[in-house]
């Protein structure tokens, strides 16, 4: 299955892209997506446990993904 991964702000700058499509086996979790992103150049700058969201809701690392899910790796927020 394919999921979309979104990167923002300092993470997008570090890795040099703001979205990517990732192919994963059925039953894959958000953690598998993070592992995939960690293999990219610049990704050593991600913190050990980044904030994560699936389909616009905060989610845990062990959240099981479905096809076409949108996974976001979220830098420390700074609105207001």
């Amino acid at each position: 299955m394919t999921v979309t991964v979104l990167l923002f702000a300092s993470y997008a700058d570090a890795i040099g892209m703001s979205s990517l499509a990732v192919d994963l086996p059925p039953g894959a979790t958000v953690n598998d997506v993070v592992d995939h992103v960690r293999a990219l150049p610049g990704a050593h700058r991600l913190p050990p446990q980044p904030l994560l969201a699936v389909n616009e809701r905060y989610a845990r690392e062990n959240h099981v993904l479905a096809p076409n899910d949108e996974v976001a790796i979220i830098p420390p927020v700074a609105g207001g």
Binding site: A9, S10, E56
Partner: protein
Amino acid sequence: MRTAIVDHSLDPTALLSEVAQVGNGAVLLFVGTVRDVNDGRPVSGMEYKAYRTMADRELGDIVREAAVQFGTHDIVVEHRLGVLGLGDASVAIAVAHPHRGCAYDASRYIIEQLKQRVPIWKLEHYADGTREWVGAAHQPGGEDV
């Protein structure tokens, strides 16, 4: 109740009239603006970016929580994105309530939750020409991002 993530300059006064009701004895308006100094460094401007669909949803959730918890539907919140100059309003929160205590508590709840949960980031533009994502250096274990 209304929330919006917008690309144009905010009109906080319009929010005041939007929440005013003759049954409400208290109206509270919070306006967050771009400061000229942050952590001792002179700032020349600020650029706000968001994960827009999630920011919209999360902000709506926060306002619905506040409505239930503090007992008023007369709440309007707007957050601006894009490049802002010094003194420009980045966020405006208007709350009206029959009683002032709840108006203060609801307003405070919304701004604190917004700052913790809504996926918005700011790129601070410093007077010396450099730029930095606010808060990125303070992430545990992520000092170099």
